[in-house]
Symmetry: C2
Subunit: 256 residues, 2 copies
Amino acid sequence: MSGGSREPGRSVTSRVMAVLCAFDADHRRLTLTAIAERSGMALSTAHRLVRELEASHALTRDPDGRYHIGSRLWELGQLAPSRLREVAHPWLQELFAATGENVHLAVRDGMEVLYVVKVYGVNAVPIVSRTGARLPMHATGVGKALLAHEPDGFIAAYLTRELERPTPHTVTEPGRLARDLAAVRAQGYAFTSEEMTLGSCSAAAPIIVDGRPIAAVGIVVSSRRARELPRLVEPLLTGARAIARAYGVDTSAAAP
Amino acid sequence: MSGGSREPGRSVTSRVMAVLCAFDADHRRLTLTAIAERSGMALSTAHRLVRELEASHALTRDPDGRYHIGSRLWELGQLAPSRLREVAHPWLQELFAATGENVHLAVRDGMEVLYVVKVYGVNAVPIVSRTGARLPMHATGVGKALLAHEPDGFIAAYLTRELERPTPHTVTEPGRLARDLAAVRAQGYAFTSEEMTLGSCSAAAPIIVDGRPIAAVGIVVSSRRARELPRLVEPLLTGARAIARAYGVDTSAAAP
């Protein structure tokens, strides 16, 4: 614990992190008051920390007075190693080059999917996922592909929860969702149709390493082009298998 | 200034940032001692901050005891808005899809180029640039494209410095470099041949908005395929102009 704190038991570092973590994919720009509220801090403490973080380019102030995460944190974040992102990158690119569609990579984070890579071209249908965003598993292609390959106990626990319903097409009835997931597991990939966003549908495949789904690759197209999804399954599965193979190779052991 | 500090005048926030900024593209994994040294802090202070940052997932400890930037900072970094990255993304993807080559986007940062996006497929030639990395301007295609479009005074100042020579092919003689840059400015794009890395060569074009070079797009190929570079100039220039156009559109004014 550092001296001078009015909140004993909470280190200054953890308060700095609390200020930063007030920001998320749904709260990308915040007023000072919102930062204080969301980080559970007195306005004066938040104000001092924000001012110091601004001086370090960790936060940046907009002309309207709101703050957002600054370029220095983007740069630092780029240094976080990710074997998954590194191994998947070229395959996601090839998948994009072969299909010209929205391609993304997501992992399970608790009961949600976290989007870690998103690739799209100039003709992409606008979609809600963005890198760093979290979405419900049962409403997204990547989420279903991941959920279907979790152990039965995990799926059962997932289905007992109150399930979000982003569109009228989202399947939330536990019995039907369980049957859907069994079908996904049997066929090795998932389809969704306007279950997360009206106007778009998707195909997704899990990346299975040592029998566990470590991530999923998805392709999202406009609903007007839904009939083209089946022909995208083959390149999708090829990409997912290639990433699994590349990830599964223990590079430390492979080096002579 | 926060209480309890043994280094008066330095806020705890700035010390937290100093610990994080001990990491960079050339120092991605550091021991505790190296962190203390690079951040100019007593070992005991560094130790406490590192422990706290580890608890917040801002730093992660490797099995060998070294630390690296953690996934939480990657996530936070993803929230930093970048109009340039956002506008450029789909065009960089199209350029990759059209050429199948290493494509990247870089900006000038002081006297260096900072790589902000890097796109590559499974057949890419290995290159030194990585997202978040800085390289000398005169030795890289993107750097030359940017430098050539800076004001004469800037170029003159650049040329008076001691210039790094990563390979025997790097042009460091001020007179020759000045002529090279004049040629780049006249033709609107730059070529390099093994000037940063033996075995690879590049073509790059500046993204000019309101007469200023805000970034550059580059394509890197294996030196064995150097003769193919000229045919990549047209898609490269098309991409650079499309990004400039998209970036130049003031979206706040465009909204009705």
